[in-house]
């Protein structure tokens, strides 16, 4: 087991895991819609980007996030560039939070996430509805934002565990 922990493959794999999960989730929709539960969907990508750019930005490059946004737009069929823009706005909020925070606090992060998600979803709705004249369901966006906010603690635990593993492997 200890030899596995020191394996260079595991080290490389873990360091790239956030990027792998990001690209896997934009190629495969991670909104749990195939469970056929009405109005139950959350944006996994937003949670992923928020956590990693806030807690360990070295593991998730802005360029990778930009390309993930482009892929997401093409796959879900909205004009190219919108998701990239929204993801980068999310990154700028986390970068700002990182700069003004001395000691990270989960509750503060969680509340910041709510405002950030509302901001980026509003930007997305404005661009789609008012600029590109694509009709969108506001209720869906609102509920999606709500669930994304509510699911953050669960994914925080998972990502935090992963982050600790990565830090452990990197510092080893």
């Amino acid at each position: 087991m200890s030899s596995l922990n020191k394996s260079p493959f595991l080290k490389i794999f873990l360091s790239y895991l956030p990027i792998i999960i990001l690209f896997f989730s934009v190629f495969n929709e991670f909104d749990f819609n195939y469970l056929k539960l009405d109005y139950f969907a959350f944006n996994f990508v937003h949670l992923l980007i928020f956590f990693w750019t806030l807690r360990n930005p070295d593991q998730l490059g802005y360029l990778a996030i930009f390309f993930a946004g482009i892929i997401n737009d093409v796959v879900i069929g909205i004009p190219i560039g919108i998701s990239s823009f929204c993801y980068l706005i999310l990154c700028s909020v986390t970068a700002y939070l990182r700069n003004i925070t001395l000691s990270p606090n989960f509750i503060k992060d969680w509340i910041s996430l709510l405002f950030t998600i509302l901001l980026i979803n509003s930007i997305q709705v404005i661009i789609l509805d008012l600029v590109f004249l694509i009709k969108v369901d506001y209720t869906n966006y609102l509920i999606n934002s709500g669930f994304t906010f509510l699911f953050y603690p669960i994914f925080f635990l998972f990502f935090n565990f992963l982050n600790e593993r990565i830090s452990y492997q990197t510092n080893d």
Binding site: F24, F27, N28, E29, D31, N33, Y34, K36, D38, A41, P57, D58, G61, Y62, L63, I65, F66, G69, I70, I71, V74, V75, I76, G77, I78, P79, I80, G81, I82, S84, F85, L88, I89, C91, S92, A95, Y96, R98, N99, I100, I127, L128, V131, F132, I134, K135, V136, D137, N140, Y141, N144
Partner: protein, 282 residues
């Protein structure tokens, strides 16, 4: 106060311009690039369109490959469910077969009669069918669409009808070289001119973003004419894209004016992409 404002400016400047050790581009650069991409994607320049088509081709194919495990899981779940429902569905099928035998005879007579009447009116509808496989069936909460494996090389064009068995499921909205995207009837942006039978009411079937549709632009008192009847919505042929009479969905007394589509959009595997040529059209 001034110090606070300075701190804020420093934090903002640092967030947008400062690069971490492993970041190759600053946030501000990438934000400008994404705005530039949004503006470019809205322009109809040929080189941009070609780049867009190239990106679509590569990403659709990659997404199809990446979705294989997810699709396998869906397939297994669906098969398992159909095994569980076997007895119940068998009973329903038996009743359906009995009814369909009677309807078949009636239908054959009506087809022959319809053909004769069209000949009298000198109205002829030719159709060209292309069979396609669903590459990506991404049930996004925002946009209801599917990606099909036929594109311009197979003579697919924007506006063509997408049919599952005999039921309308949507229309082509984007065509690339080897694939295309179809907007499903359930999407908020889908509007199909239709006719409600048996009362022959003209209407527009509109998507809602959920798995049902609504009736729009019709007689204000159309709900009064429903009177607990089962109403079937067919394409009306107005607009010239679809032929009249393709079944869309039904409204029954329990559905409170909602149209339940005949086709289950989550189970689409193979569809027909159809173009219609009306009498006199070249």
């Amino acid at each position: 106060m001034a110090t606070g404002r300075d701190d804020f400016v420093i934090a903002i400047r640092s967030a947008f311009l400062k690069k971490k050790d492993k970041q190759k581009f600053s946030l501000l650069t990438l934000i400008f690039v994404s705005i530039f991409v949004i503006v470019l994607s809205n322009l109809n320049f040929k080189p941009i369109q070609f780049v867009k088509l190239g990106i679509n081709e590569v990403i659709y194919r990659s997404s199809h490959i990446a979705s294989i495990p997810e699709n396998k899981f869906k397939e297994i779940t669906s098969k398992f469910q159909s095994h569980i429902d076997l007895y119940e569905s068998h009973q329903k099928e038996v009743i359906k077969i009995e009814n369909s035998e009677q309807l078949k005879l009636q239908n054959e007579f009506l087809i022959a009669e319809n053909k004769k009447l069209r000949e009298l009116l000198d109205e002829k509808i030719d159709s060209q069918e292309i069979f396609a496989r669903v590459l990506i069936d991404k049930d996004s909460p925002y946009l209801k669409s599917v990606v099909l494996n036929k594109g311009t090389k197979d003579k697919v064009k924007i506006g063509m009808a997408v049919i599952d068995e005999v039921y309308l499921v949507g229309q082509i909205i984007e065509v690339n070289y080897s694939n295309s995207r179809a907007l499903l009837l359930s999407d908020l942006n889908s509007k199909i001119p239709s006719v409600l039978e048996p009362d022959d009411i003209q209407a527009v079937v509109s998507g809602t973003g959920s798995n049902f549709g609504t009736i729009e632009h019709t007689k204000i008192d159309y709900k009064e004419t429903l009177n607990n009847k089962e109403i079937i919505a067919y394409t009306s042929g107005i607009g010239g894209l679809f032929k009249p009479g393709i079944p869309i969905g039904k409204i029954d007394s329990s559905s409170e004016g909602q149209i339940n589509f005949f086709s289950d959009f989550t189970q689409l595997n193979y569809v027909k992409i159809v173009s219609y040529k009306f009498g006199g059209d070249k």
